[in-house]
Symmetry: C2
Subunit: 228 residues, 2 copies
């Protein structure tokens, strides 16, 4: 398989969708990977499928994983999703929506698939700026994962192309991501960001993820078609 | 929770069982973690449950994971398990029984559970000497994972006890592991090592795992009660 093959993590949110669109524009054949991890906001899995089809991926898989078994997060356990937090509140400490070791697990699966595909590129839409306080969105984490990945796999022993973890959004603000997505022609209607949607899948407009999204669109001067 | 809490990866094989017994002897409250990853040798999950009960763990969980979706290994896909390989053949390259990124995924789940339990210790029975050619059994991989883990989690931000990955068997030969297990009082009858057991769960005696086990018992001068 060509070295232009990439595994792209795709939640169906704004960031991962923009990241996938960027990988496509850079010419990668994309294999999109989503996770069913017992999240409250399962409507995001439908968003991921819509986005993958819209952008045009070679294949889209959803891996079933068992994070619920460990609990410990408002996104998977019976803990209330916090609402109406200000940017300064979000910046303080780690929120209850943090899912333990989530990006580590997601990237590990991406690594497994990349190894089977003989792909050397993995894209993840993490963002360290408006990152809502998650430790596994920081550049130092990504570098450490990449280093580990190159020792974990056949690559590390057989001297083949090294694994590269791409994080094109890591230093962007939410408004810059919105502008980039618009420029890439992403259909915002297909994406889903809310942690706590209603039964019809409409965003709550009050959780950290909704508030960050709203702020991003406002600052970018673009209207979000998804708001209720 | 006390700092003497550990998450112990347990396949039900000789190495992971010995590793768990060692963690118990060192006084850790052990949370044993096994994986149902669509392996051919599913009888090992029953072995894991027997060993966990015998050694005495606080809790034993089996996480269902989706490695089969990616294929690429004789342990999960429809590829024949190689038989009758000599030690020098085993030492050459990476065998088809290698499961892509397996230990990375296993350790990532252990990390998630450790974070929820507020445990700082993870035990894994990897072995770099008689390691059958797997890249993710090497000390440099473990060190890189540990480094990544401390950046991936709340620990890394909140300055709590750092995550420590224990690999007490990493430098031991198979004979030394057999002697250590005997000394720890492990009931060998409960363990299962074979990659390709028959319908009754009896070992084939011919795969790499069986051959390494046989050699270890022979060199240790101890009789293996499991051989058919």
């Amino acid at each position: 398989m060509s070295s232009r093959t990439a595994v792209c993590l795709l939640s169906g949110g704004l960031d991962s969708s923009t990241c996938l669109a960027l990988a496509r524009r850079e010419g990668y054949e994309c294999y999109a990977l989503s996770f069913d991890y017992g999240q409250r906001h399962r409507v995001e899995l439908e968003a991921a499928a819509r986005v993958a089809a819209f952008i045009g991926v070679r294949e889209h898989r959803t891996a079933l994983i068992d994070l619920r078994a460990f609990g410990g997060s408002a996104l998977t356990a019976d803990i209330e999703v916090p609402k109406h937090r200000s940017p300064s509140e979000m910046a303080q400490g780690i929120p209850v929506t943090y899912v333990p070791a989530r990006n580590t697990i997601f990237l590990s699966y991406a690594l497994a698939w990349a190894e089977v595909l003989e792909a050397s590129d993995i894209f993840i839409g993490v963002n360290a700026l408006d990152y809502s306080g998650y430790p596994d969105c920081r550049p130092e984490f990504i570098h450490a994962f990449e280093n580990m990945a190159n020792l974990a796999t056949k690559t590390g022993i057989e001297g083949r192309t090294a694994i590269h973890i791409h994080t094109p959004l890591i230093a962007l603000g939410k408004a810059e991501i919105v502008r980039l997505a618009a420029q890439l022609g992403l259909d915002f209607n297909l994406t889903h960001s809310c942690y706590d949607p209603d039964r019809e899948g409409r965003p709550c407009g009050q959780c950290d993820s909704c508030l960050l999204r709203e702020k991003g669109f406002a600052e970018a001067g673009i209207r979000d078609p998804v708001v209720r």
